[in-house]
């Protein structure tokens, strides 16, 4: 679910970063209250754990495999605030050191995976656990919670994608970032998550929880985080404010007429007749906007760089093959 750069407009990225910032601030405050300052470096180990959990390949019946995020699991074992901080740090390192997920879209990724996923998962888990007092009740709660957590997170991502063509387009009507509207992005993202990523997350969470409870039950015991009225208020505010923020920022860029509203159902690009256009497959790389001479120089620079690159790669390939 890691969103790369250039699919969300910088404005959307800024809005999502602003949306997740209060969650960060509150989570850090909560964690600082629970841990003495001298123990705070342990958060690094939680973040390392969050990072590594995403590396396991989880098998599903039928043969497919997938990766889990583990946000709800960490929320259950260490608390949702610690989960928010840990997953955020893990996402930061994934983006910066491994190129997994964009730099600008970091705020959006944290909103989806470090805030929505663990918090929704945790509170659904708490809700069910309190009502199912049996021994297996906790596992059912964890299963449902983690499944919901990731599916709702994928819905958020789908919405972030889907509003792009609505809000950010050129004067001619061409979408500047993700071109797929909500009618496409929501099924395209949510359905695979409901069918594959959700069960993967569910399995991963329940299996590890079961093992930890069996082997080190004291580690699985946590005083449940008190739901302050503040949290609900915050959640509600964020859920409402974020799309409003997106839309409000959109009005500064695009027009907000009835035909835009109609466009939510499906995007009809302006300026295009009907059917296929093969030109679209081979974009035309003429460099308009630059003086000709500069265009030539740049092309020469790129050409020379490409030659150097090819030469280096070829001589590297000629070296005796190494086995990893």
């Amino acid at each position: 679910m890691h969103i790369p750069d250039n699919y969300l407009s910088p404005v959307t990225c800024a809005v999502m970063a602003a949306a997740v910032a209060p969650a960060w601030i509150l989570s850090i405050k909560k964690v600082k209250k629970e841990m003495p300052r001298a123990k705070l470096p342990q958060l690094g180990i939680c973040a390392a754990l969050a990072f590594l959990m995403m590396m396991y390949n989880v098998p599903l019946p039928g043969g497919t495999t997938g990766h889990a995020v583990g946000g709800t699991l960490i929320a259950i074992l260490l608390g949702p605030s610690a989960a928010c901080v840990s997953v955020s740090v893990a996402l930061l390192l994934q983006a910066l050191l491994f190129g997994d997920g964009g730099i600008l879209s970091f705020g959006a990724n944290c909103f989806n995976m470090a805030f929505v996923l663990p918090f929704v998962g945790y509170y659904v888990y708490q809700f069910i656990k309190e009502r199912m007092k049996s021994k297996s009740g906790e596992y059912v709660a964890a299963a449902v919670g983690s499944y919901f957590g990731i599916v709702v997170a994928s819905l958020c991502a789908a919405i972030e994608f889907g509003v792009q063509p609505l809000l950010f387009h050129t004067a001619a009507g061409q979408p500047l970032y993700c071109p797929y509207p909500l009618s496409v992005s929501i099924p395209a993202m949510v359905i695979p998550h409901m069918l594959v990523a959700g069960p993967v997350e569910l399995l991963f969470t329940v299996l590890i929880l079961a093992f930890v409870k069996k082997v080190s039950p004291d580690l699985a015991e946590r005083v449940p985080e008190k739901k302050t009225k503040g949290i609900w208020g915050l959640l509600l505010a964020l859920v409402c404010a974020t799309p409003l923020g997106l839309i409000a920022s959109g009005t500064a860029w695009g027009e907000w007429g009835t035909d835009e509203l109609a466009g939510i159902a499906g995007f009809t690009p302006g300026g295009m007749a009907n059917g296929f256009s093969f030109n679209a497959l081979l974009p035309d790389y003429s460099v308009s906007g630059l003086p000709e001479a500069v265009g030539y120089i740049l092309s020469a620079v790129i050409g020379a760089a490409v030659l150097v690159i090819v030469f280096k790669l070829v001589s590297d390939m000629r070296k005796p093959a190494r086995q990893s």
């Binding site: 180990i45 390949n57 043969g63 299996l207 082997v215 080190s216 580690l219 679209a280």
Partner: protein, 264 residues
Amino acid sequence: MADIPQWLTEPEQYSPPKDRDRFLDRSIVSFVELLSRFRSQSALERDRLWVSPVSKLAAAALYIVLVSLSRQFSFVYVMLAYTAVLLALLPAGDLRRCLTGAALAAALAYLILLPSALAGSRYSITMIPAKTFICVALVNILSRTTRWDRLAGALRRFFFPDLFIFVIDITIKYILLLGEFALQMLYALRLRSVGRNKSKYGSLGGVAGSLFIKSRDMSEELYYAMECRGFTGEYRTSRVRLSWRDGIFWLLNAGIVLVYLLLS
């Protein structure tokens, strides 16, 4: 001492039954690649591309923002040239890896956008794969030419608190430590998966669950180790120094920003 039972003295005539456990090999591959990335970055004695990590980080961020904002292919073309030159400066191994990462991301973007292009939206498919290539290449170049502890230290210049930098340093260190432990455990599971494992899920829970328990133990130990060395919660990172090379680098960057402004 007990006698060795009969079955242990005879070789096993064993023909393994079929089983599906690709998840185990795939997990092993993920961890092996992760750990080899760590090894290759720790071997960087001197940061490549001879500019300080702070400048590299700031420039990468700056360019990602500009590329993302840009609506002119002309500017994207300028950035393609810049990226190509940077790639050409890298040693062959790093070059290959940065290039494949960026090329794959761009190809994936192209495939994802193809349906919209066929429906008539030309802008996305012209711009986004190229932009993706540039952004992914820049981040990969940054990550492969800078030692990660120096990169974390560079964050300090961006007004992140010292404690945050410390947590990042610890995270990096423990990804390596816990990662090696996790890999050992995956190997242990693979070595003993000699037949049909009817409780694959149990094994996965065991391997990943043990990682969690190990991480809790390591947390305890870390706390004690730091206590013993008098940690009170203050953390000082050494200042990353800028040199004349950074000056030249920023002149170049300023030029490119100017180009961006002129073109839009």
